[in-house]
Structures are given as C-alpha cells and as structure tokens.
C-alpha cells in the first residue's frame, strides 16, 4: 500500500499545483473547475501510466501531461473511425478508461509490490 500512498500524494500535489497555476483566472469557481477537470481529464490518465516509471514527482508530472494529452488520440479514433459522438459522456469515459487501464496494467507496482522498481 506504500505505493498507493505515493500515487495519492502525487495526485494531490498535481491538484495543488494546478490550483496554483489556474490562479490567473479571476473567478474562484473557474480556478477550481479548470484545475479539477484538467487533473481528471488529462493528468490522471497520464499519471496512471507514467507514475510507475519510478521517476521523481516533477518529471512524472511532465510525462503525465504528455501521455495524458496524447491519450486524447482515442477521441480522434472514436470520432473519425467510429463516428461516436463527442459529448460529456465520451469526454469522461475515455479518460476514465485510460486511467483504469493504466492502473490495471501496473497493478502489481501500485498495490501489491513492496517497492517499485526505482
């Protein structure tokens, strides 16, 4: 469970960082909304895949942004190849699927291993 705690800590740090970043918006609700949804829709899907790589937090955060943003290619596939509508459901289901797949793929590293390979 040690690694689960680390994952949680990274997530909270990402959220805190995004709130700090989003302070440029002048509206408190917008600050929270932008930070929360960017975390949920872009960072978490990437974090699920990059966190087990055993990099330090800052590197993981950068890699998670790249991986999470790129995972949006699934939207392109759904829209162009399968003509599935891009709506609220799709926009939540895809990141949720990518996050879950990442966690399942790396489950040994997250939940069962005493130490990650770092």
């Amino acid at each position: 469970m040690k690694n689960l705690h680390r994952f949680g800590f990274s997530t909270i740090c990402s959220f805190a960082l995004l709130i700090a970043l989003a302070f440029a918006f002048k509206d408190t609700f917008a600050i929270l909304a932008a930070a929360f949804w960017y975390l949920a829709l872009v960072i978490l899907p990437g974090l699920a895949w990059t966190y087990p790589l055993g990099q330090r937090f800052f590197q993981t955060f950068l890699l998670a942004n790249l991986a999470g943003f790129a995972s949006g290619f699934i939207y392109v596939v759904l829209d162009v190849a399968f003509r599935i509508p891009l709506n609220k459901v799709t926009f939540l289901a895809v990141p949720a699927f990518v996050t879950l797949a990442g966690i399942l793929y790396w489950r040994k590293h997250y939940f069962f291993a005493e130490e990650t390979e770092r």
Binding site: L17, L21, A30, A34, A70, K88, F91
Partner: protein, 533 residues
C-alpha cells in the same frame, strides 16, 4: 526534505504558468480581448466540437451550407479543450488558452531536464530561470498572447520529444520511446507541419531503437500510437492536403522577402535571434564556441543550433512558402538561452569556487535574469488589455446563435475587426471599413446608394483549402462566396453605430431595407439587426 534544483525548476514552471495565463486577462463573460484573428479560429474550432459533438466536418455555416466540408484544423487540442469546457462549464476561449499557457510553462520544465541531461544541473537551472520570461518577452511570448496557439502546444511536444530522444540515447529504456511516441502523436494531431522539424531525429531514434535486441517491442513503443492516429486520419490528410496548393514545394527561391521581413507585427510572427539583447546573443555564441572543443559530449546542442539555423535561414530558399516551419524560430530561446547559461557556468567555474558558492552564484544570476524579464513583462498585460469584441457585440452574437437558423445568411456592415464575426456562427458577409467609407462618401456626394456591396466572407481561414468530401479518399473543391453581393439577398443585416457619421449612414440603409421586406428584430445599444420577412 532536501532542496534540489528540480524543486526550484518546478517553482519556475508554476511562476511561468502564472505569467503566461495572466498575459491576456481573458474574461469569462465574453471572448473580449482575444488577440488577433487566429485565436478566434481556434476558439471557433473548439466551439464546433461542442456544438456538433464531432470534429470531422464543419458545421454548415462554415462551408456555405455544405455539410461535407472536412475540418482543416487539427483535432487534438480542440478536443481536449472541448472536454475541459464540457465538464468545467468554462467557455472555450479560456480552456484553449489555459492549455496553451500551461503547456508553454511545462516547456520550461522539459527544457530543464533536457539541458540537465546534455550539460548539468547548474546550466539547466540557469536556463530555466532565463526561459520563464525570455528577454524580450513581448517578442518571445507573442505565440501565447496572440496567435501561435496550437503551435505553442506542438512546440512543447517537440521539446518533450527531443528530451525523450536524448534520454533514450543515454538510458535505452523502452518507456522513453513510449513517451516519445506520445510527443509525436501530440505534434501530429495538434500541428502536423512541425513533424518535418523532428523527422530526422525521429529517424535516428528509430534506428537506435532498431539496433537494440528487442527491436520489435522498441519499434512498437516508438510508433504504435502515432501510427494508429495517422492511419485513422489518412483519408483526412488526403482530402485536406490534396486540396491545397503545396506551400512546401521544393525548388530554388531567391526572393523570399516574407521569410526575413519584419513587416507584419514587426517580425513577431517569425521572430529571430536579433530580438535578444546583445549580451544574451554574446553569451549564446560564446557558449556555442565553448561547446566545440568537446563536441562529442555537446553534440545534441550543436545539432540543435545547426538545425534551427537551417530551418530558419536555408528552408526559405529551397521551399516555396515554409511559413509554419519558420515559426519554429519561436523556439530560439530554448536553444540560445541554455547555450548562454553554459557559457556563464563555464566562466563561473574558472573562479574555482566551492560548489555551494557556485550554486549561489548561479541562483543570483538566474534571479537577475528573471527580474530583468519581469521588468519588461509587467507592461505587457496592460498593453494587451484592449478588447476586439466588446460585451455588447458579444451579446448580439449570442442572440444570433440562439434565434437564427444554422444556415441563415448575415450581412455585417461593420464587422471585420480581427475575425470576431466568426463567433456569430452563421454564413456571414463582411463589409470592409474602407468599402463602407467609400459608399458613404458616394452617398454624401450624389445621394445614390446601390444595393451591391464588395464583401469578404467570414471564417475564410477555417475553409482554407475549399474542399468537400465526395468519397472515402476523394474530394472536390468548392468556390468561395462571391466578392460582390446584393444586400437584399441576405436573411439578416447587422448594423453597429460605431460613430455619429456611421450611425447616419446606417439609418439611410436601414430605412431602405425597412421600406422593402425587412423588419427590426434586435436593438441593444449601438447595435441593431434587421430580418427579411
């Protein structure tokens, strides 16, 4: 917790994001001070996804009522922004800008790790300090505050790709190929022309990955995601690129004044190293010279500088119109500033200081660079605070969106300012202000006013290639709207009394239309709209 250089770099990323996101000061109420035409197109591209729940085809108003006009704006940034808007409830112009500003800031962090791998921690930290607000910010932040929006995101993916390529060269870990794959996917789906710049390095990386015993797994790690994206979009590439006249046609072109001129926006669109202060350039060149004796170790940076110079100053002579490729010049800070930092750290090492003292010296020089940048930056937000789309006009656009049919035609007498009529989301003909003045003058002289007007059609950039899909791999072209139109042919006519003189002329035109088949349907402040019965 021990303070490490990367903690300071992380703080610099936060600081950079704060500066970048504050530049335009976008309101949540309306896309008021979005700068220039391009951001309106980026915002419209995101809105199209939100309005139609798909990206592949434009809504009918873009293609003059056609529903088979493929979207020429690359999908990924707009899809991510639409997802963010959809769930956060924030308007699209803020979510697009948020992602652009955030990625620009992340570039500082990625550059830190890239420089650290090629040189060392001290050079990397100093470069990160300098990159937050590169001197001069008004030039180097242009891409964020005006209109290289999608390319800013793509540029940061370029840096991420180079970082991962260098990392793989050193560590040979497969996950680095996966992330490089993600970076290529981002470039491909955000601004594909930038692939040209990274293609030689991609080939070298593929060769390196292939030489490894686990070559199949490595190649899969490097190309799988981007290959899927490319395959899915292949028909689209053919429609879109097939419909354009090739602006990358090879040849020998000796009169590329536009590639080197400083006419439009003072050269900000295609910035050059001359925008750096002389002392930054001096240290940059000095740093480059210092790299040469140990060229093998510093090879990534030497190649990087050579590549940037080639793209910037050779491609204009061998490609027909490499406009978007030349925008890569906006990445000069990421090449020059680390070279300057390398020179400064090398000079500091001549003093044979204790390591702690050298760190302190690096920190002080870095803070000085940041302060100098901030002094120049702090004027910018105020300079950029003017609105191209005031709330009153925005409210009239919202009325049009809610109360008119999607394929309605709209005639705007005073609406060409920075493409903001794109947000009417209707087939809109715009009268240029000179044409309006010419007509007004003619009317003042001889009291005659014909119904034919010279116009430009709104959202021309979204149409760009003028193609419509006719089959899986086939397309045909369609014409732009006529440049001379009859005002009586339009469903709606939009007036804005910008000043007293225009108000009087508008009243004349409106009275004539009211005497025919039009009636007033909207009036708020200086704006009124007539509708044909």
């Amino acid at each position: 917790m021990k303070l490490r250089p990367e903690h300071i770099a992380l703080a610099l990323v936060v600081l950079a994001a704060f500066f970048y996101l504050n530049l335009d000061g976008l309101p949540l109420t309306h896309p008021g001070n979005i700068k220039a035409a391009d951001p309106f197109y980026h915002t419209a591209a995101t809105e199209n996804i939100l309005d139609t729940n798909q990206w592949l085809y434009y809504p009918a108003w873009v293609g003059f009522g056609r529903t088979n006009v493929p979207n020429v704006q690359p999908p990924l940034l707009y899809m991510q922004a639409a997802a963010l808007s959809s769930w956060s409830g924030l308007p699209s112009w803020t979510t697009v800008y948020f992602i652009v500003g955030l990625f620009a800031a992340l570039g500082v962090g990625m550059a830190f790790f890239l420089v650290q791998r090629v040189f060392n921690h001290q050079v990397a930290l100093l470069a990160a300090f300098a990159l937050v607000l590169p001197l001069r910010p008004f030039a180097w932040l242009y891409g964020i505050y005006i209109g290289l929006w999608i390319q800013v995101v793509s540029f940061m993916a370029v840096i991420g790709f180079v970082w991962m390529a260098v990392a793989y060269w050193q560590d040979k870990q497969r996950w680095q190929l996966w992330i490089a794959n993600c970076a290529i996917t981002i470039i491909m789906l955000v601004h594909p022309q930038d692939l040209i710049a990274v293609f030689p390095l991609w080939l070298a990386l593929a060769w390196k990955a292939w030489k490894n015993p686990e070559r199949i797994k490595n190649i899969l790690a490097l190309i799988s995601i981007s290959a899927i994206a490319f395959t899915v979009l292949l028909p689209h590439w053919i429609w879109v690129w097939g419909g354009r006249s090739s602006n990358l046609a090879p040849g020998w072109y000796t009169t590329q004044e536009s590639a080197f001129g400083t006419g439009y926006s003072g050269g900000l669109v295609l910035p050059e190293p001359t925008f750096f202060p002389w002392y930054v350039l001096f240290f940059g060149i000095f740093g480059f010279c210092l790299m040469l004796p140990r060229w093998k170790k510093n090879l990534p940076w030497i190649i990087g500088i050579a590549a940037m110079l080639f793209i910037s100053y050779v491609t204009p002579f061998v490609l027909k119109d490499p406009y978007y490729l030349l925008r890569l010049r906006a990445l000069f800070p990421y090449i020059i500033l680390p070279a300057a930092a390398f020179a400064i750290v090398a000079l500091l090492s001549m003093f044979r200081l204790h390591d702690v003292l050298r760190w302190i010296a690096v920190f002080i020089v870095g803070v000085l660079a940041l302060i100098t940048g901030y002094v120049q930056y702090r004027e910018l937000p105020a300079q950029l605070s003017g609105e191209h789309l005031p709330l009153e006009r925005w409210n009239s656009y919202l009325w049009l969106q809610s109360n008119t049919a999607m394929n309605s035609t709209l005639f705007m007498l005073e609406g060409t300012s920075q493409a903001n009529p794109t947000m009417t989301k209707r087939i809109t003909a715009q009268v240029d202000i000179q044409e309006l003045a010419r007509k007004a003058q003619l009317y003042a002289i001889n009291q005659t006013l014909d119904q034919f007007w010279t116009v430009e059609w709104n959202a021309a950039t979204l149409r760009d290639a003028h193609i419509q899909r006719t089959g899986l791999f086939s397309f045909s072209t369609y014409p732009e709207g006529p440049s001379k139109v009859d005002i009586n042919d339009f469903d709606y006519v939009y007036f804005e009394n910008l000043n007293e003189g225009i108000a009087q002329f508008n009243a004349v035109i409106a009275q004539r239309l009211l005497n025919q088949s039009y009636r007033a349907v909207y009036q708020q402040g200086s704006i009124f709209i007539l509708r044909r019965q």
